[in-house]
């Protein structure tokens, strides 16, 4: 199993009482809540944390993309990744992003990713997403075109990386006389591709297809859902006549480890609850604009008693395995068990979340890197496999 340090770069200085006036930390929350002086300090602190992960021996760092919100300050993840590309030496840099349907010209992603891949000498992992529903409010892109634009933009980018240019591209949403991306990818034939998702059978069908074999990344969901979707991926792969490797499965989860269970819970509580109830806060209409999900999936959401909007606590998310928290022994035991049962090969831990301050973030990173990671590396040493995302696939 490989270990990644994921950051959302929240605006941790957000006035927590904003929700007395506004119903979301996204889209409609006035940006007068953002103080550039504080932002400057946060950006540099967060970049230091990402760089520290390289020194602590993580396999990779992950940056993120969201627009017009206090939840994450990385609207243009290539800026973050670019800053990291020269200040880190060993880690992979996963951009998770990029939200392809938002772009009028997806070739900008083909270009920024190949630049990063060349500068780092092949340390880039290329993430492709549709973005969450709020992005469609932020950017004005039609959510009913989200799936169509995603698939077409993906086809265009992969073709730009793997086929000699110049060529013409004739799609429904994109039509180009010249596709001739300079530079070409450093990793040949292309960087590994990861597909983060909150859980979707349609996405699994697509990502697991033998022509792609992309790494499917389950983000912030209960362990039971994680298990369900990972199993689904393996079964679909089997249906295609191949066995999915653990390189094709990843999990992204917030985690806090401290000296004891009690200390961990006490230190993490206010910050994970701020993450859940302040930073993630948005009404359903914002999260799920019409067309973002298929009608069938949308009906499923309507019927499920959704937790969107309802208050969550540290206990409720720990119980569901959406947040891993405890002493090194507790955390080791849980992760070892989940990994054994579910079989994911990439573990993306969010070691800063919500308002978690710098000193606790560093302590969390250090204990995790010294007392959890090495143990799990030994225990879960799988037969060595090629880079994820089926490079060449």
């Amino acid at each position: 199993m490989k270990f990644y340090f994921m950051h959302l770069m929240p605006y941790a200085d957000l006035d927590p009482d904003y929700d007395q006036k506004y119903n979301s930390a996204w889209i409609t929350l006035p940006n007068s809540y953002y103080d550039p002086e504080k932002g400057h300090v946060l950006y540099n602190r967060y970049l230091d944390e990402l760089e520290y992960a390289d020194q602590l021996g993580f396999d990779g760092v992950c940056v993120n993309e969201h627009h017009q919100n206090a939840y994450g300050l990385m609207p243009i993840p290539a800026v973050t990744a670019g800053a990291l590309s020269r200040r880190t030496r060993n880690v992979k840099i996963a951009v998770l992003g990029r939200a392809l349907p938002l772009l009028n010209n997806p070739l900008v992603v083909a270009e920024e990713f190949t630049m990063l891949d060349n500068i780092t000498g092949g340390r880039l992992i290329a993430g492709f997403v549709r973005g969450i529903g709020a992005e469609y409010h932020a950017w004005g892109v039609n959510p009913a075109e989200s799936h169509g634009r995603f698939h077409e933009a993906h086809d265009l980018i992969v073709k730009a990386w793997t086929e000699p240019g110049p060529f013409t591209f004739e799609g429904k949403y994109y039509d180009f006389e010249y596709v001739n991306t300079w530079p070409r990818p450093y990793q040949q034939p292309r960087p590994p591709i990861w597909i983060p998702s909150q859980g979707s059978s349609e996405t699994i069908d697509w990502a697991s297809h033998p022509s792609r074999k992309y790494t499917y990344l389950q983000t912030f969901t209960p362990v039971s859902m994680l298990a369900k979707y990972m199993k689904m991926y393996k079964e679909v792969a089997e249906g295609h006549g191949y066995e999915a490797t653990e390189d094709q499965l990843g999990w992204s989860v917030p985690l806090y480890v401290a000296e004891t269970d009690e200390i961990a819970r006490r230190e993490a509580q206010p910050h994970i609850e701020a993450f859940l109830n302040k930073f993630l806060r948005m009404p359903k209409e914002m999260l799920l604009p019409p067309g973002y999900l298929s009608l069938k999936s949308m009906m499923g959401v309507m019927k499920a008693k959704s937790s969107i909007g309802s208050k969550q606590t540290i206990d409720s998310v720990m119980e569901k395995g959406m947040f891993i928290c405890g002493s090194p022994a507790t955390v080791r035991e849980k992760l070892e068990q989940y990994q054994k049962e579910i079989g994911f090969g990439h573990l993306l831990t969010l070691l800063q979340f919500g308002t978690l301050p710098a000193e606790l973030t560093r302590k969390n990173m250090e204990i995790y890197a010294k007392e959890v990671m090495p143990y799990l590396r030994d225990k879960t040493a799988a037969p060595a496999t090629a880079a994820a995302g089926g490079a060449g696939g």
Binding site: T28, Y136, H137, G140, V141, N142, P143, A144, E145, P283, K284, E285, M286, P289, P290, G291, L295, M298, M299, M302
Partner: protein, 261 residues
Amino acid sequence: MPFRDTTETIAGCKTRIMRGGSGAPLLFLHGANGAAHWLPFMEALSERYDVIVPEHPGFGASDMPDWLDNIGDLAFFYLDVIDHFGLDRVNVVGQSIGGWVAAEMATRNDSKLASLILVAAAGIRIVGVRKPDMFLWSPEETVRNLFHDQSLAEKALANPPSTDEEQMVMLKNRLTTAKLGWQPRLYNPDLEKWLHRISVPTLILWGDNDKVIQPEYGPAWADRIPGARLQTFAECGHLPHVEKADDYVASVSSFIEESAR
């Protein structure tokens, strides 16, 4: 007056159509909430007219055809509908998004039209009079913002879509509304350039307390369509055919009679 509830295949799309009454043809083009039921105003109009109420492709019980991408596709579809039924001297009444479709259709070809009635129509933009973002409204806000008289909103809120079918239709209508009107928001920048082509008598109707598309849009339409007349309903929201059904039927009928002379 009984109405017929049928499915016709037009432009390859299975289309649900309610039709009742006799007299001059009246084609009603519904708004974002679809046209699931034969409403009292339809019944009243059917006493004098041959009232034809399709559910647009992508709405209600009609199919979602592959060709449906934008409002122009629906405009051409309704020209096909007129040909399909061999209609002539049609009175077209369009509500909200249906008004947008009607205006788009009439700019393309109004030779089979007798009159055009646009009610709280989407389709144009007045810079500085931004339509509110209905896609961020909660279900309750949406219902409340449709009506001036909040007792009507209360009544609607007391009877939300309950069956799976009704909920599915609601989601489908919302999806197609987004498809047609998300970006640019509920207008076509090219439409107003060609509204001068409309040569049939045109009536613009608006509620004076429309919270979905502001009443300022009424005069804007009337200015852009040659000879168009504007009438405003007092104490009325976005759905005059529901909220002021008697006045609405009277206005529509008298305009159609006048246009026929």
